[in-house]
């Protein structure tokens, strides 16, 4: 079978609607009689709720209803645990999940207390000011170490401490091995990853049709199938009565897969109760509190190496801020724990983390999902070791890379998919070599940097390596069908938030079935169109759903060939597919359009052979045995103004291996976007909480997202090491760009300013001109 589309930079099928303002996003849903919701959110981070008086709000003109936890009755319940703790020996895990509306206690700023439903959002917001809450403030737990100290306020009173979880994973025997190290580096690292801040905030529209007995919910979720299942269960409905639609979604990046957000639970309930559609659109201010974050970890890490820079072992003890509740289990810190190992041989590893409850918004995965934190620790330890051992930074990495013949490489410890961390395939050294070549590493250090230094310019180069476990299970499915008009429809259960599924999945199907890629209509995110699936997360869409599309397309292809061979009364090997028709090889003019075949496959009358399935359609599922490990190297040249500590990125290189590539144009976009978020994380974005758990910079004017002037032009290159875990050899790529940028910045700035020679080390992210000035100045004063 010749492929025409797979691997090509095909332009996107979905673009025209988006470019002309015709694409439906959740806030575009307009329904007759629709009401609007606003939520009263706590202004305090921690407190006891003594009473809530909504009477004045209920009396306001234009207000239709106001509900508190009390009004929900039995419907009120904490959300489900989405991800149970992995089966690790000795794991301590205290499940505490968020609630739809606060009952006795508030645990973070922004936690919902009441919901107002009115004729307009404007009136609903007016009514929020009418609600009187008697709240007794309590001291807020904001600092991780203080939160674990004796005498700290407790986020959850029924626990004896603020420990949400405790996990230790080991490989080899660090304690025994470390004695053999020639060099031991021990440091404390602080890594703070920020908010996803998609351009579209969250939103829910719920519509109950009492006569058809159907609930329809439009939701910006990344996991419509599970939202459907959960809502059906909560509302006492059959799954078939609930339709969840994630239409076009303006960016997800992780937090839109968290469930159940209070609004997802409240809006359908209210729509049924009021028998009117209700809409809630999160405004940007709310987004800072009402949508989950990723945040910080404190690592006390040490690495032991031999004199030639080979890693003997690593020990890491870290604290993880999980926020006020932990519905997403341990995914983020487990990712940190596992991804720290990177592309390197680490014979001995001892990693322990304590997840801490705080009076801050919930932490769930955001692009990178905790991998950043681990990669920062490892890359910085190697940098400091390189300095101490007088080995070049790139060289020390090279010496520790897992060799290409060692795959599958088993790191033994348990990963977020509950399986041992096994890297399926990889060839790491060429990726490093390519990055060094593109950044012109040796020449820069030997010639360029000294030359520019003489001109008084402070330029530096950095290199960082990482791996990324992608494409994890459980499974996804796809239904592929040739329609009577000859177009092919593809439906899958995941959602799309800009990744180009409408095109990449179309490419797969188009190649198998032999149609123009523009004649493949892909539907994602509608539970009425496809019943089963897990969702878009963990860089798994292309791998898992893509493979399901491929399997279903192959099955349809087989049906077409069989039907065509019967139609022409020839062997299947003599049939070729292309241009939307089946024809006989070498016999021009003998062809039948696929649409006609599809119609023939669904006769209105007559008898069919037993076991015949109508139409040219197939539904197939794909579930990988484990995650596919992608990898990459980033390199950057930066110039720092030593007086203002402002910086400019002069060159940025990404070399990436995500196995077989479906669409290099879409892949490039994913990497660019990931790097931009990495740059934001490294140097611009910081959530500033005070001691009372108040967020001081809750606006886009003060929480700085990188602009077109802050993100440089990037140069990309790829290597291809296919994954043996799926037939197409694909590995995920969605998060890669964001993962190693933090250590890249730290290393580059140190190199530009010659900080190592001044004894100054950058052990924290995010950085900023102000923070750099403090760190450097502290040393010099």
């Amino acid at each position: 079978m010749t492929t025409r589309y797979f691997g090509e930079p095909i332009k996107r099928n979905e673009d025209k609607r988006l470019l002309t303002g015709q694409a439906l996003f959740v806030d575009d849903v307009e329904l007759p009689g629709m009401l609007h919701a606003a939520l009263l959110r706590s202004q305090n981070a921690h407190g006891r709720v003594n009473s809530i008086d909504v009477s004045a709000a209920r009396a306001r003109k234009g207000v239709v209803a106001v509900y508190t936890a009390e009004d929900l009755g039995d419907y009120w319940q904490p959300g489900p645990l989405l991800v149970p703790p992995p089966p690790i020996a000795g794991v301590v895990f205290n499940q505490r999940c968020q609630v739809p509306l606060a009952k006795d206690k508030i645990r973070h700023v922004g936690e919902p207390i009441a919901i107002v439903i009115a004729e307009s959002r404007y009136i609903a917001e007016d009514a929020l000011a009418d609600i009187v809450v008697d709240l007794e403030p309590l001291p807020a737990v904001v600092n991780l170490e203080k939160g674990l100290a004796a005498g700290s306020a407790l986020v959850h009173d029924d626990l004896r401490s603020n420990v949400a979880a405790h996990v230790r994973q080991t490989k080899g025997n660090y304690a025994a091995a470390i004695g053999k190290a020639d060099c031991v580096i021990k440091r404390r690292f602080l890594y703070d990853h920020g908010m996803s801040s998609p351009m579209e905030t969250r939103g829910v529209v719920a519509q109950w049709d009492g006569r058809a007995n159907q609930l329809t919910v439009w939701d910006t979720t990344q996991a419509p199938v599970f939202v459907r299942n959960g809502l059906a269960g909560m509302l006492g409905l059959s799954e078939r009565q609930v339709r969840v639609i994630a239409p076009f979604v303006g960016g997800g990046f992780g937090p839109k897969i968290m469930m159940f957000y209070p609004e997802e639970v409240l809006l359908p309930w209210a729509a049924i109760k009021l028998n009117r559609p209700v809409k809630w659109i999160e405004d940007r201010l709310e987004h800072f509190f009402a949508t989950t974050h990723e945040r910080g970890q404190i690592h006390d890490a040490e690495i032991g190496l031999s004199i030639d820079g080979k890693i003997i072992g690593i020990k890491d003890v870290f604290l993880h801020d999980t926020g006020a509740y932990d519905p997403y289990g341990l995914t983020v810190p487990i990712n940190s724990q596992c991804t720290l190992l990177g592309p390197y041989v680490v014979p001995n590893y001892d990693s322990t983390f304590t997840a801490v409850f705080t009076n801050l918004p919930i932490v769930t995965p955001y692009r990178g999902a905790g991998r950043q934190h681990g990669v920062f620790v490892m890359e910085r330890l190697l940098d400091f070791a390189a300095h101490e051992l007088k080995i070049d930074r790139a060289e020390i990495r090279r010496r520790n890379l897992i060799p290409p013949d060692a795959f599958p490489y088993n790191n033994e410890i348990i990963y977020q998919d509950f399986a041992p961390l096994s890297y399926d395939s990889g060839n790491y050294e060429p990726v490093l070599d390519k990055a060094l070549e593109l950044i012109d590493y040796n020449n820069f250090i030997a010639e360029e940097q000294p030359r520019l230094r003489k001109q008084g310019r402070h330029v530096g180069v950095a290199i960082a390596c990482y791996v990324e476990g992608t494409g994890i299970g459980p499974y996804e499915g796809a239904k592929v069908q040739v329609q009577a008009n000859g177009k092919v429809s593809v439906a899958t259960g995941i959602g799309t938030q800009g990744q180009g599924h409408f095109t990449s999945f179309a490419q797969i199907a188009a190649d198998q079935v032999g149609v123009d890629v523009r004649n493949v209509d892909v539907v994602t995110g509608d539970t009425d169109q496809f019943y089963w699936g897990a969702g878009t997360f963990a860089s798994r869409g292309a791998v898992v759903a893509g493979n399901a599309v491929n399997e279903a397309s192959k099955a349809v292809r087989r049906k077409i060939l069989k039907l065509a061979s019967e139609h022409f009364e020839c062997a299947e090997e003599d049939i070729e597919l292309g241009n939307g028709e089946a024809s006989i090889v070498g016999v021009p003019g003998k062809s039948v359009r696929l649409g006609e075949l599809a119609q023939r496959a669904n006769p209105m009358r007559g008898a069919v052979k037993p076991g015949t399935e109508p139409g040219l359609e197939s539904t197939q599922y794909f579930g990988p045995p484990g995650g596919a490990t992608a990898n990459g190297v980033h390199a950057m040249i930066v110039e720092v103004d030593p007086d203002t500590l402002m910086l400019q990125i002069l060159k940025f290189v990404v070399v990436h291996d995500c196995g077989t590539v479906i669409n290099p144009l879409i892949l490039a976009g994913q990497i660019h976007g990931g790097v931009a978020q990495g740059i934001g994380n490294a140097f611009y974005e910081k959530l500033v909480f005070d001691d009372e758990g108040q967020l001081l910079n809750a606006s886009l004017a003060d929480y700085l997202l990188p602009t077109s002037l802050d993100v440089p032009r990037m140069e990309l290159a790829h290597t291809v090491t296919p994954s043996p875990l799926n037939p197409m050899g694909i590995k995920g790529a969605g998060e890669a760009g964001a993962i190693p940028v933090g250590p890249l910045f730290a290393q580059a700035i140190e190199n530009a300013l010659g900080l190592a020679d001044q004894g100054i080390e950058l052990c924290e992210i995010p950085l900023s001109p102000n923070r750099l000035w403090e760190l450097i100045g502290k040393q010099n004063r």
């Binding site: 404007y122 007016d126 102000n770």
Partner: protein, 290 residues
């Protein structure tokens, strides 16, 4: 968020606008460009009961040169016009240099000079510009009009010398003096953000290179735009060499009391001001025509 309930009146004339303001007092705000006011309304931090929309008053938008030494700019003149006006570039290079730093083009398409000055954000560029240029502002009310020197106009954060019933209607600025050099610079986290620190400098030299006049104004360095001209006055009568520039920088740094902002501690702001004084003076010096 959505704004709180309000009453909106489109002014039909300047007299109408002033009468409405006299009637409603503190309960009313003038709506000019809205680029500072409406965000605060959308956060419900500002909840004006009455909005008097003065955008229809096109007579308040104008740029005129008077007697060769003075520019008169109507308060409702939008940045968009000022940016593209060759007269502004020629006669007030300091303002011309500062304009592209103000927010972004979409903001500058609506934002007005007068609106920005009346809003009086201490991190804004234009207040520092009008102080550095030594301008004066004309306020008008139902009771008449008066002129206020720029350096007396900014009282406290978001507070000006305007009385409750007054509207800022015109800004008068001296044109560039022969042989002078000016420089505007700011250090902001991202292009268009409020500055962590910003400086506006005008420098006059005598033939022979001695400084005969120096005005320095800072934005983002105090509770109001800071007139640092007195602190820097030691440079007057001196040669503008590196030692003098260093001394001026130190003197200005010592004279300010920067408030913290989200992106910079007071110590860092002070440090940045020191850097800016040096860089801006060097640039202004280069630009002094012989």
């Amino acid at each position: 968020m959505k704004p709180a309930p309000l009453k909106y009146i489109a002014a039909t004339s300047l007299a109408h606008a002033l009468a409405l303001k006299a009637e409603h007092g503190d309960e009313a705000n003038f709506l000019a460009g809205g680029q500072s006011l409406v965000p605060t309304m959308n956060f419900r931090l500002a909840q004006p009961a009455v909005l008097i929309d003065i955008n229809p008053l096109s007579e308040l938008s104008s740029v005129k040169r008077e007697n060769g030494k003075t520019m008169r700019i109507g308060a409702l003149t939008r940045y968009r016009l000022l940016e593209r006006d060759p007269l502004v570039a020629e006669t007030m290079p300091l303002m011309h240099e500062a304009l592209p730093h103000i927010a972004h083009p979409q903001i500058r398409n609506r934002g007005t000079l007068g609106g920005n000055l009346a809003h009086a954000d201490p991190a804004s560029e234009m207040p520092a510009i009008v102080i550095a240029l030594g301008g004066r502002l004309r306020a008008q009310s139902v009771n008449g009009e008066r002129w206020i020197e720029a350096r007396d106009f900014f009282i406290a954060p978001l507070t000006t010398a305007l009385q409750t019933d007054e509207m800022l209607v015109e800004i008068e600025l001296p044109t560039r003096a022969q042989g002078s050099g000016s420089c505007f610079m700011e250090i902001a986290r991202r292009r268009g953000d409020f500055a962590m620190a910003g400086i506006a400098v005008t420098l006059n030299l005598r033939k022979g290179g001695l400084c005969t006049g120096l005005r320095i104004a800072l934005c983002g360095a105090g509770e109001t735009p800071v007139d640092a001209s007195d602190a820097a006055s030691g440079l007057i009568g001196q040669a503008v060499d590196e030692a003098a520039i260093e001394a001026t920088s130190a003197a200005v740094q010592a004279s300010i009391d920067p408030p913290r902002n989200m992106q910079a501690s007071p110590e860092f702001q002070r440090h940045l001001v020191g850097v800016l004084v040096k860089r801006a003076l060097r640039t202004a010096l280069e630009r002094c025509a012989p």
